[in-house]
Amino acid sequence: MKLKTKQAWTGFLFALPALIGVFVFYLIPFIISIYNGFTIQDRFVGFTNFAALIKSNTFWLAMKNTAIFSIIAIPLAVIIPLLISLFLATFDKHTSFFSSLFLSPMIVPIASVVYVWQIFFADYGVVNNILKNFGIDPVSFFKGPWSMALVIIIFVWKNCAYNIILFSAGLRKIPKEVKEPARLDGANRFQVLRKITLPLLRPTTFFVILLTIISSFKIFREVYLLYGQYPDEHLYMIQHFMNNNFYNLNYPRLSAASILLSIVIIVIMLVFFRFERRSSL
């Protein structure tokens, strides 16, 4: 009994610095912002702030663009690394030299390569030069709908790296003894992949998807460095919406948006976790 209390105290003490940080900078102010979300200058206004938010066109533009980006970019940033790591796994020799090379987009800071992207994708840039030589009309990557395409390309380029490492580690953990009997029974490569490899890779895939979702939330960095604070309307995302309200010091709206968005994220994650649990049964 005494040992248990002692362990409880030690455990609590060890967790304390992290808990203090989370409570002070995240949890307590979030609770205060719930209060702010329902008030204007300390007067209770019910759902007024939320109604104003939902009526705002810029909010829905931001939601729409963020959704489009996520729905296209996240699957690409998971499937392409999966294919590359399956390809890497077919080599007999160790390919760790190549997987180190694949990591470099992750290590190189975004700001370092931004200028290269600008040179490549500018209206009179290298890519359009090549397109022109093939007789294709130039594409404007800095205005209009194609700007989203450029951001997705950069996101996939950057996030493939770590996902390849994670998938390769997951593939290495699948023992050869599981696959070989199936091969001997006459299953072809594709059947082995579909019936054995991919199901066994499911925990890794789940983790990769989660990490990719989390890093998709940070796409504002690329957008800001490439397009500045006020990008084309096709790239106006939630972080831009929030920033504009920070600049206007519109706290009721910021708080309402923060509450609403946290609920959206929690719902998406619950669906995601539920789906994962069902599919792994």
């Binding site: 362990q7 105290w9 455990g11 609590f12 060890f14 967790a15 610095p17 992290a18 808990l19 940080g21 989370v22 900078f25 995240y26 307590i28 102010p29 912002s33 890497l88 080599f91 997987s99 180190s100 090379l101 694949f102 470099s104 987009p105 992750m106 290590i107 190189v108 800071p109 975004i110 700001a111 370092s112 931004v114 200028y115 290269v116 600008q118 500018a122 009179y124 840039g125 290298v126 359009n128 022109k132 380029w157 580690a169 983790f207 989660l210 989390i214 504002f220 960095r221 800001y224 460095l225 972080q239 919406f241 929030m242 920033n243 706290y251 948006a257 923060s258 968005l261 994220i265 994650m269």
Partner: protein
């Protein structure tokens, strides 16, 4: 014979994929070795004139590096801003996470799982949600426009605790129990038994935290109004508009710290199982 052909084709494909990943970086490195006027000439955009793919320098020169290091004290200042923001975050995050992850994985205390649930929720929250509470607290503490506004919230994210907990779960409980029966203190168990087994996790945490914060943008543009305090992750993009001639060398210099950290830990990082 046929097998050989297939293997060679596979290596060609592999090399092409690697090239695709490396091209922007190689391009930056190659262009950093050109003199400034060559850069300005090659990439000055004028309508009707397309930029060429200009990989090999006409004239090899270290002028850009000379300019960045010796002629632009403001560049080194901005670089230093990045260092004094990122290094404290990595140190605080790593230390705090080691203790907390150990407590949440291997020690039992009341409300443990409920408290850890807060960390999981926080892990998935994007900056557009968390920056509102962060901003409020930073403002009340009077830290706006100081580097502490950037350091403190980022040092206490949930990422480290969640990541290290994943690694510590694989440390067998029996070894901990055995050490405890031998009379080892909890602190000793953590440092002598658990930490050596989660080296890969700590390497991954340090590399990922460093890279994440070395790239910090969204907090900077909200919490900091004094542009002299900007880290290079934001300030470097201003160079593209005004100082085209040195931009590539600045990019290369900015890349070196995360690269060194990665090379130092690369073996543990790549072999870290999760």
């Amino acid at each position: 014979m046929k097998k050989r052909v297939i293997i060679s084709i596979k290596y060609v494909v592999l090399a092409l994929i690697a090239l695709l990943f490396l091209l922007p970086i190689v391009y930056m490195l190659a262009n950093s070795l050109m003199p400034s006027d060559e850069i300005t000439k090659a990439y000055t955009n004028s309508p009707g004139h397309y930029a060429d793919f200009h990989l090999i320098p006409d004239n090899f020169s270290l002028e850009q590096y000379y300019q960045a290091f010796l002629r632009r004290p403001e560049f080194l200042n901005l670089f230093w801003n990045s260092v004094i923001i990122t290094v404290p975050i990595v140190i605080i995050q790593t230390l705090v996470s080691i203790f907390a992850a150990f407590a949440f994985t291997k020690l039992k205390f009341p409300f443990r799982d409920a408290l850890f649930f807060i960390f999981i929720i926080l892990l998935i929250m994007p900056s557009w949600v968390t920056m509102v509470p962060n901003y409020m607290m930073i403002q009340r503490l009077g830290l706006l426009d100081t580097i502490w506004a950037l350091i403190l919230p980022s040092a206490f994210t949930a990422f480290g605790v969640c990541l290290l907990r994943q690694y510590m779960r694989y440390v067998p409980d029996e070894t901990i129990e055995a050490a405890r029966i031998d009379g080892a203190s909890t602190l000793k168990i953590l440092f002598r038994i658990v930490l050596p087994q989660v080296k890969g996790g700590i390497a991954a945490l340090m590399i990922l935290t460093f890279i994440d914060n070395w790239n910090m943008v969204e907090q900077v543009v909200i919490y900091i109004s004094d542009k002299d305090k900007y880290p290079l992750s934001v300030a470097l993009s201003n160079y593209a508009a005004t100082d085209t001639g040195v931009i590539f060398a600045c990019g290369v210099i900015f890349m070196i710290p995360p690269l060194l950290l990665y090379l130092y830990h690369s073996k543990e990082f790549k072999n870290s199982k999760l």
